[in-house]
Symmetry: C2
Subunit: 357 residues, 2 copies
């Protein structure tokens, strides 16, 4: 790893009690360039602009995929990553689907640790605080030909993140727009999937919803995901989530929720969720909770489901009654080193990793 | 328009008889930036790199769309665009679907004319030669949040293009992968659509095909497009092409072919094309031609269709017998000012436009 530390740290301007998530960037970033069929040196450099022309293939043909993960600081100042190997596997799965080169462990996992260690001062601590980390790969060749690029950049950038508490939201069950095609790229964290979701989401907002529950594009009869989260439904005391597939992202939070639920003895059924079954359950009072899960906010609880022009209300549960709240709590306690990690999910970020890499 | 001409023209290094299409860039480009809810000044500047960080939303969330169009030089050195207003309309349709701001006529059409006029020396002339022009819009805000960007860049870059003659190719009728979802972004020239198509295309190549005929993602029973082209099928003396829809790009070449065919009295049916009907017609000898159309190569003729593991051969027709060749010829003659333009499709690029804008 080639290390070039900044001479102009911006950390004195960073107020952990008052910052804007998503556009406050830590001092450094990881970059690594691919050319002539291979990745070059991994570099840890000051965060900042690079030179690209508008002919860059990444913005022309969308060959770009990313990950979203977090580092957490415990009360003693120790820093942890959460299941980073899952994100490593997933970025390579995304890369393969988009005909991009896979990244190596050295680039991804060592890069991550070196960056987080060096900029550990940027990780806010306290409830809900974390560092949101964005590894990504994008095509950098300048060429106006719709074909696989010969040049890529792998980068890791990061931004401090605030409390993930969000108010319960109303979501619209999609009856026209969709997120993924059969035989498409829904299971990849492909850049283009996100742009495609913005306009339908805006339309749902115009109708008074905050998010969309994506359904299958052919019939709109089955739940797929919710916004940029995986979705869970609780009917009586059983929780349901759709199986992952080429249309559904294999979320780390989803998998963790499934394992945590099983540990608590909650029945989990990983099976297709028909919209009709959920509507039926709402009508007969057995629908207890519907929620989304993802790294960014852990859980978003839904208060109402928009279906066929109706707003189907969901019960308001106390944190004790709510499986969503209980499982979220279990997860956050592991992530932040408050509870024992019987799963081996936490990965400590050693101090001064840089001296050893 | 703000004009900053290059002081280091590279045109003396450009050999119109020996250049690489797609990565030879003309001296200038158009750029225009969007911020605070509005587009700034249109600028004609030297082609070259700009500063972007890896947190640029365009590569993270794929908010990016583009156009592909050409300028042609006739034997007297006059330069023409072809139906540029269609591309102007389409980029705004794409932008809307991706929740991006529309561009103005001044940015798009005036920008195009100014750029092509100034760099007209870069347009090779002779059969099949042209300038390939790439207008695009992409998100430039630096932010790690999956939401609509607040900043964009509109740009026009261009590369000299060579003869569009291509050998007949074998295409695989897709039975698993797909290009577009119902309720998705297939009708937009969204960057992400192209990245999504590369891997399936590579797999088809591994099986001995050059391209894919995309079919509907739910059943794979209907033709949609072919590679990055619209598709035509000729059975006996009738030609068929699928209707445009939210899954099918409304191609300028497709529309021109339809009008040219009608002018020649060829029967054109714009209706869904069942895969089975094509296979049936191949078996009973009524399938005469299948071809793709698009700006880049005008026409690619198919010699065989891969279906269910079989390679269904297509007849070899002379240029006189072939509707694809006849219509291509009609189109190219209009584009290059060899034939009278009864449709009003050609738009001349006046000399010294710059003095008037
Ligand atoms: C489309 C989509 N679904 C689900 C998720 C949740 O995945 P994870 O739990 O790994 O963050 C994400 C990412 O956060 C996503 O982008
Ligand atoms: C997916 C797709 N279909 C069809 C076409 C053909 O459109 P046009 O004739 O306007 O070039 C293109 C672009 O060239 C395309 O990208």
């Amino acid at each position: 790893m080639i290390i070039q530390k900044t001479e102009n740290s911006r950390i004195s301007t960073f107020d952990p009690n008052n910052f804007s998530f998503g556009n406050t960037f830590i001092d450094h970033m990881i970059i690594c360039e691919y050319e002539d069929g291979k990745w070059g040196d991994v570099k840890l450099v000051p965060y900042g602009p690079l030179m690209f022309t508008p002919a860059m293939m990444g913005v022309n043909y969308g060959q770009a995929c990313f990950e979203g993960m977090k580092a957490y600081k415990d009360k003693d100042g120790q820093v942890f990553l959460f299941r980073p190997e899952k994100n490593f596997e997933r970025i390579n799965k995304s890369a393969t689907r988009l005909a991009m080169p896979e990244v190596t462990e050295e680039m991804f996992l060592d890069g991550l640790k070196a960056l987080v260690d060096l900029d550990r001062g940027w990780i806010p601590s306290g409830e809900g605080m974390s560092l949101y980390i964005r590894p990504l790969i994008f095509a950098t060749e300048e060429a106006l030909k719709a074909r696989v690029s010969n040049k890529y950049m792998f980068a890791i950038v990061a931004t401090p993140a605030k409390s993930y508490y969000t108010e319960p939201v109303s979501v619209k069950i999609s009856d026209h727009y969709s997120r993924a095609a059969s035989g498409g790229v829904g299971s990849a964290k492909a850049a283009g999937n996100y742009a495609a979701s913005f306009y339908p989401t805006q339309l749902a907002m115009d109708e008074g919803y905050e998010q969309i529950i994506w359904t299958d594009d052919a019939t709109h009869e089955y739940f797929e995901e919710s916004g940029t989260m995986n979705v869970f439904v609780r009917i009586n005391d059983t929780i349901y989530t759709p199986p992952t597939s080429e249309k559904i992202l294999d979320g780390v939070t989803r998998d963790s929720f499934i394992q945590l639920a099983k540990k608590r003895g909650i029945e989990v059924k990983v099976e297709p969720i028909p919209v009709k079954a959920v509507v039926e359950a709402q009508k007969n009072g057995t629908l207890k909770e519907v929620w989304g899960v993802g790294t960014a906010v852990v859980t978003t609880v839904f208060q109402a489901l928009g279906y066929n022009g109706d707003k189907l209300q969901l019960p308001v549960l106390s944190d004790d009654e709510s499986f969503a709240a209980t499982l979220k709590n279990d997860l956050v306690n592991i992530q932040t080193n408050v509870a024992e990690d019987t799963f081996g999910w936490r990965v400590v970020v050693e101090k001064n990793v840089l001296e050893t890499v």
